[in-house]
Amino acid sequence: MVKILKPNKAVIVLQGRYAGRKAVIVKSFDDGTRDRPYGHCLVAGIKKYPSKVIRKDSAKKTAKKSRVKCFVKLVNYQHLMPTRYTLDVDLKDTVTVDALQTKDKKVATCKTIKQRMEERFKTGKSRWFFTKLRF
């Protein structure tokens, strides 16, 4: 009886191009909207996971390996698998629904998400989120 699909919850996208990718819920629309009359949420996820960084790597190589490619999407609740993990990254201000309207807004939003996610990855916290789900 606890609401599970809340902002900052880590989820796994199940369908579509990004199936199998981990994402974090930014904003949830439980009762849907006019255009989408079903429960859905805005998620920010990882399109391309960062590679494994080893101690031998030079600074240039670690920088290259720690890159994260991100996506923003409105996903139906049915196409998500919630997990017990959360990701406390502050994306609420930059990631909004109108960022999805035009391509350049989307690209700009993905850039800011990328920065935030990369700095989170570099701190070494939330390691589960940045590992690829093997299936």
Binding site: M1, V2, K3, I4, L5, D30, G39, Y77, Q78, M81, P82, R84
Partner: protein, 112 residues
């Protein structure tokens, strides 16, 4: 031998309670609606038949763990669970939304 007798009595009481829920309460039958009820935090108790595919069973249990909702593994397969619900079809999993006059929620979540 004693254990078998005990499960038979509790098994009948689950059936009685379930019948009361069917009569007086709100419920949904079926995997899709069970997940929907869990997502919207409306489900109060989930009952799963014993021949439910293990992946589906684990998925429902995981959702229920996230929602802190009890899961009861029914002692019978989907045919028996359908009969217990008074339906003429098979029911693999069901979600009780409002127990009505029944005390199934208070007495069941102890066992898993």
């Amino acid at each position: 031998m004693v254990a078998a007798k005990k499960t038979k009595k509790t098994h009948e009481s689950i059936n009685n309670r379930l019948a009361l829920v069917m009569k007086s309460g709100k419920y949904t039958l079926g995997y899709k609606t069970v997940l929907k009820s869990l997502r919207s935090s409306k489900g109060k108790l989930i009952i799963i038949a014993n021949n439910c595919p293990p992946l589906r069973k684990s998925e429902i249990e995981y959702y229920a763990m996230l929602c802190k909702v009890g899961v009861h593994h029914y002692n019978g397969n989907n045919v028996d669970l359908g009969t217990a619900c008074g339906k003429y079809f098979r029911v693999c999993c069901l979600s009780i939304i409002d127990p009505g006059d029944s005390d199934i929620i208070k007495s069941m979540p102890g066992d898993h």
